[in-house]
Amino acid sequence: MADKSSSSAYWAANLRVIFISLAIWFICSFGIGILLRPALSGISIGGADIGFWFAQNGSIYVFLVLIFVYAAKMNKIDRDHGVEE
């Protein structure tokens, strides 16, 4: 295990990535897909309004991109802090 100060810097960097990712996760599904649907009903994607599309399809695409970006970012942070396997 790396020394204490570097490991807490690593953990802080990790938490920042997690926090930003969770914010995106929340906004696309609970935000656009549910809570903001009435407010955004004027915007449409094809035959669906944006809230409906995010609830049935869009969120899933965002989730996918999110996990891969997260994994790439974390692998880079692992290397930067010298804690990769």
Binding site: I18, G47, M74
Partner: protein, 615 residues
């Protein structure tokens, strides 16, 4: 070749494939039996996780739930995929031990395709799982699940491609369902057409907004955090070699899950339109009521409609010509008509049940009064701009449309070729088998590894433990078959309970274990008990104590729910109670010992994870 032979051929070929793979990948050591050795890459692991995750319920029932629930049931789409984000971010990289088993479920719906009884179908399915799971272990199951994934995803998407092409002119269902409706020339969006047809018949629009945003929010959250707390999903992340692989494995799992989940709303909405326009043929290329409803003579003479009689035999579809006009009128009865028809049926039943020597005059008067009341409702209610009375309609005549036939009968409803129908049968079986095998593995490893090696007989040899694992797997299969033969009959409630409880108990504890050095053992235990009890009690209040019918203390209706929160939505509230309790108890108890705090620190850092995997 007839449909039955075709079904047998396709299903037989898929079984032969699974056996072949299980034989090729049979386990030689306990490491391979429990965790497929270390040789499983993230893509293979992701595909196997997807097959494991997508049970017969995902494959068969979800599209039907969406078809009839519309926007409201998007909760399943977001909930069962968004959980993987939590897995990837909050759990997969940190986990080192696995939890206990989940109740196995096994479905015998496929009996119809094999033309055998449900019991025989279940026994055949069990024998297949038995053969490959007992010999293959996790390694065999992982590679078999890859094959099962391919079969099930083809079975799901191939009919969807055909149907999307014919309804919207776009071969990709994900684009088709937000595209235009082709049969009327493409100047109307498909979703607008669907909304139009179902609202003409008195149903809520498919895209209608939810009536209870809070409940929808909580159900989605419950499914998401429940997904991240289900043991048989979590166990998957022990089979990869490195922490970086664990992160990306959740991503690959979601890729393969998303292939099915993004198609599901298209399958649901298109099947809904197809089944509705089957009964109102005028709606296909014109106004809903421009042609009369489907006639019984047509059902019995049109070769494309033989599926109606076939599915009627299973009880998943039912119709009665109530007014004797030879047509099947399908519509949503308005609430007053439902009540009036029920009152009339009750009065008629009371009259029929009266003893021969009783005074029947008051009963006959009651029937006459109920008939008058019902006729008054018929004179008020309208369908297609005319009153029901004027059209001679007395009620909805398509009395049962089970959710499950939206996928199972989908290729037949759309008149697709026989091999597509056979493929759907094989796909449903693949989904059921892969999930059952994954659950059984979790059970057998809990018994042989945790119980026998961990507690009863720690000095057991490698060979002896492998034998014990195989024997306990065999017993688990026998038990699951026995439960399946005499099912407790509350599948939907158990699913709600399982996700709600996982959300309220396992997920918060895992989170506190990883992200907090403050929470004590006592805090975690008391928090978990509070989460478990509050969620279980809320579910039991509405669904009956331990699901025993009639013991519920409140009716399970939206009006009776506290703040409109349904039992399936309580998980996140249980989780919050769990967190708060754990925090409060921790402030009152002694801080965790230094070695535990050090352990939490070491879990956070990927380096050295390899050492932790040897046990």
């Amino acid at each position: 070749m007839d449909q039955f032979t075709l079904n047998l051929l396709v299903i037989g070929a898929s079984f032969a494939l699974y056996f072949g793979i299980a034989f090729w990948a049979r386990a030689g050591s306990t490491a391979e039996f429990y965790a497929a050795g270390q040789g499983v890459g993230p893509v293979v692991n992701g595909m196997a996780t997807a097959a494991d995750w997508m049970s017969a319920a995902s494959f068969i029932s979800m599209a039907g739930l969406i078809a009839f629930g519309g926007y409201n049931n998007s909760v399943f789409l977001m909930g069962w995929t968004g959980g993987y984000v939590l897995l990837a971010l909050l759990l997969a990289p940190y986990l080192r031990k696995f939890g206990k088993f989940t109740v196995p479920e096994f479905v015998g719906t496929f009996a119809r395709f094999l033309e055998v009884s449900t019991t025989t179908g279940l026994l055949i399915g069990s024998a297949v799982v038995f053969a490959y799971a007992v010999f293959g272990g996790m390694k065999g199951i992982t590679y078999t699940q890859v094959a099962q994934y391919i079969v099930l995803i083809c079975a799901y998407t191939v009919p969807a491609l055909f149907i999307s092409l014919s309804l919207t002119g776009n071969i990709f269902p994900q684009l088709g369902f937000i595209g235009s409706y082709a049969p009327t020339g493409g100047d109307v969006y498909f979703l607008d057409k669907l909304d139009q047809v179902v609202t003409d018949l008195g149903f809520a629009a498919y895209t209608a907004d939810t009536s209870n945003m809070l409940n929808m929010f909580l159900v989605t959250m419950s499914l998401m955090i429940g997904t991240a707390g289900l043991p048989h999903v979590i166990i998957r992340f022990f089979t990869v070699a490195k922490v970086s692989d664990a992160r990306i494995s959740a991503g690959w799992a979601l890729v393969f899950i998303a292939l099915l989940y993004t198609v599901a709303p298209a399958v649901g909405s298109m099947a809904r339109l197809n089944i509705t326009t089957t009964f109102w043929p005028g709606a296909i290329d014109g106004e809903t009521f421009s042609k009369p409803a489907l006639s019984i003579a047509e059902i019995d003479s049109n070769p494309d409609l033989t599926w109606i009689r076939n599915w009627e035999k299973t009880g998943l579809l039912a119709f009665t010509d109530k007014n004797g006009d030879g047509l099947i009128q399908y519509f949503n009865e308005p609430a007053p008509l439902v009540a009036a028809n029920k009152a009339l049926a009750d009065a008629t039943a009371a009259l029929a049940a009266a003893p021969a020597d009783a005074d029947k005059a008051p009963l006959e008067a009651a029937v006459a009064a109920a008939t008058t009341a019902r006729d008054a409702v018929l004179a008020e209610a309208t369908l297609g701009g005319q009153t029901l009375a004027a059209q001679g309609i007395v009620g909805n005549e398509l009395t049962t449309v089970n959710n499950d036939i939206m996928v199972l009968a989908n290729p037949e409803i759309a008149a697709l070729p026989g091999w597509v129908i056979a493929l759907v049968a094989a796909g449903g079986l693949a989904a059921a088998l892969s999930t059952a095998a994954g659950l059984l593995l979790a059970i057998s490893s809990a018994i042989s590894h945790d119980l026998i090696k961990g507690a009863l007989k720690p000095d057991i040899s490698e060979k002896g433990e492998l034998l014990a694992a195989r024997i306990s797997m065999a017993f688990a299969i026998v038990l699951a078959t026995w439960l399946g033969l005499d099912p407790p009959g509350f599948a939907a409630q158990v699913v709600a309970l399982a996700f709600g409880l996982a959300a309220a108990t396992i997920f918060p504890v895992l989170m506190m274990g990883i992200f907090s050095t403050f929470v004590t053992k006592e805090g975690a235990i008391v928090g978990m008990i509070v989460g478990l009890v509050s969620t279980a009690v809320y579910i039991f209040l509405y669904l009956g104590w331990f699901f025993i019918p009639g013991t519920n203390m409140l009716p399970n209706t939206p009006d009776a729910h506290f703040l409109g929160i349904s039992p399936a939505a309580f998980g996140p509230i249980g989780a919050i109670l769990n967190f708060v309790t754990a925090y409060l108890v921790s402030t009152m108890t002694k801080a965790p010992p230094q070695d535990v705090q050090d352990l939490i620190q070491s879990i956070r850092v990927p380096k050295g994870a390899g050492a932790a995997q040897v046990h």
